[in-house]
């Protein structure tokens, strides 16, 4: 009896791990120990600020960030004044005004990040036919998102001699199929961090992972913090209801 059950549980676990591991395909992922991993995980604000800078200075010329408004940046530890300053660096279209005209004005905290292209067709036209996806949700929209993003950004390599790389395509060991239309975005020292942190390819990529993990799920830290409290409550409830059950059943004769 017991043996059957163990076997069944074993099958089930194998099944579950297989199904969910599927999809990673032929690529090799680099696994990193992110601070947001695990039940007690937290986001690293300094890294997120650096990642934000890297996004603005490197990625924002091709990729939008539709789900993030300037006001959300307070999560990264920016003050209201700093947020206003970031926003006012952008010109956004507003309107129509009383004359029915659209007009440009400096950004305010409530505005969302302006996209680099007005629409998908323009984005494709600017990138040789390929579409640079919105990055807001990217770490949730790929299996093992954070590791995948880090690997993607750090795996541009010389192609093996037998691999044909067509014009406008680049060899990337982490991208499914290994041929991606995005040119290598980070070479190292692409940004100068105010806090003097290293700006090699790996550091910038890792900072971007922190930033984009937050954009994908701004509530991630709150979720885990709430979770720990809820688990403590529930485990106490398990213990108490078990005790109460044993107490109530004590007078029932065993069958």
């Amino acid at each position: 009896m017991m043996k059957w059950r163990t076997a069944l549980i074993f099958c089930w676990i194998t099944f579950v791990t297989n199904v969910f591991a599927a999809g990673s395909g032929d690529v090799v992922l680099k696994h990193k120990d992110w601070s947001f991993n695990g039940p007690f995980g937290t986001l690293d604000k300094a890294a997120m600020q650096r990642g934000f800078q890297a996004y603005r200075e490197i990625c924002a010329s091709c990729h939008s960030l539709d789900y993030i408004a300037f006001r959300n940046l307070s999560d990264l530890g920016y003050s209201e004044a700093e947020i206003k300053a970031f926003a006012s660096e952008y010109e956004v279209e507003d309107g129509p005004n009383d004359d029915g005209e659209m007009f440009m004005r400096p950004g305010i905290a409530a505005d969302r990040f302006p996209a680099p292209y007005p629409n998908e067709a323009a984005a494709r036209a600017g990138n040789g036919g390929a579409y640079p996806p919105d990055l807001s949700l990217i770490t949730k929209a790929r299996a093992n998102g954070p590791d995948y993003l880090y690997s993607l950004l750090t795996s541009y390599k010389e192609p093996p001699s037998d691999k044909d790389v067509p014009d406008g395509m680049y060899y990337n060991a982490a991208y499914p199929g290994n041929l991606i239309a995005m040119p290598q975005p980070i070479y190292g020292e692409d940004v100068t961090y105010a806090d003097g942190s290293p700006a090699d390819v790996s550091s910038i990529s890792s900072d971007l992972v922190y930033f984009l993990t937050w954009t994908a799920e701004p509530s991630i830290e709150k979720r885990k913090r709430t979770g720990v409290k809820v688990m403590i409550f529930l485990l106490i409830m398990v213990g108490m209801s078990y005790g109460a059950m044993k107490f109530i059943w004590a007078d029932v004769k065993k069958v």
Binding site: F15, G23, L137, K140, A141, S219, V230, L234, S241, A244
Partner: protein, 417 residues
Amino acid sequence: MSTNKFSNPVVRWIDHRLPIFSFMDHELNEYPTPKNLNYFWNFGSLAGISLVIMIVTGIVLAMSYTPHVDHAFQSVERIMRDVNHGWLIRYIHMNGASFFFIVVFIHIFRGLYYGSYKAPRELLWILGVLILLLMMATAFMGYVLPWGQMSFWGATVITNLFSAIPLVGDSIVTMLWGGFSVDNPTLNRFFALHYLMPFLIVGVVILHLVALHRFGSNNPIGIDPSGPQDTVPFHPYYTIKDFFGLSVFLSLFAAAIFFFPNFMGHPDNYIPANPMQTPAHIVPEWYFLPFYAILRAVPDKLGGVLAMFGAIAVLFILPWLDRSPIRSGNFRPIFRIFFWVFAADCVALGYLGGMPAEGIYVVLSRVATAWYFLHFLVILPLLSVIETPKPLPQSLSKSVLGGTAMVGAASAVKEKI
């Protein structure tokens, strides 16, 4: 109708005119329940609570959700980001569906092992299978609502299946779609139906419970209680046991919600639906995988659809396929082996449903599908005839005395209360 068992005069006054308190007292308090139920009997109440959780979180989500192809994905992201505790509500609803299915699958396998589908509980069982069908339809339509890549392509693949039906197939598909492809009208009608169906489930659950309370719960030994010494009042004995089970269930559920909320989902559903771009693998939610495997195991489209629905249809007639008068698998040595083989077969089907339909997986899917139907259509009827059961105990309270095997088994309508 005596109302004097209630001390509160208001309760007495009401109960005399509307015996709602007597009803509750009778069905939830004194309701005699076998005293030997094991933890597998916790899953019925857990299923009921899951249903309530889904309805409550679903209604709250509907307050901020927009069923339009241009806004659905965004509106879900707004719930995740801008609605107070929206992320929590959505993660509960999302993972709740998976946990609901886990609970109901265990509940069904409990019934399969302990023969809970046998007389006099055939209708109870049939209502249960009906609930399963309604749940599947509800979950399928719900998964379409966030309008991600898997929502769209899952809906496209599954609705297309109906075109296999001869003559009317294409018209059915057009009706499901509300047009000529999965599009805004599809999303709108799926939302309307997804809102409606859980309430149909509530209706069937009520019938399920009425049928349950007619003869009471089956139990691990599978013979009827022979008198009050074999039962305990539902309250406090099973209310506290169900509460303990609920605590354990909620702990596991909360661990998923707070620590791995997307583990059971597919990353592609965080990409907005794009009719121009097919995902590399289209896979349904995990709880549909065994059925998906059966669908793909049959080389013919109509055949596959029939096999998939047949896999559920056999459950409806199960009480007439397994004619053995012994309910509990504990007393059926051969049945027991086949039960576990069948369980492993279902797990295997689930695994195969998640694999690409090529090479060895196709062969294995066919074997597993064949075994699924063989189990119900050949093995169970055969076992009812050839198997010699172990001796049954004389009553729930007494241990095995040896000798006669059939005491109290079978369909003798229990006279109680």
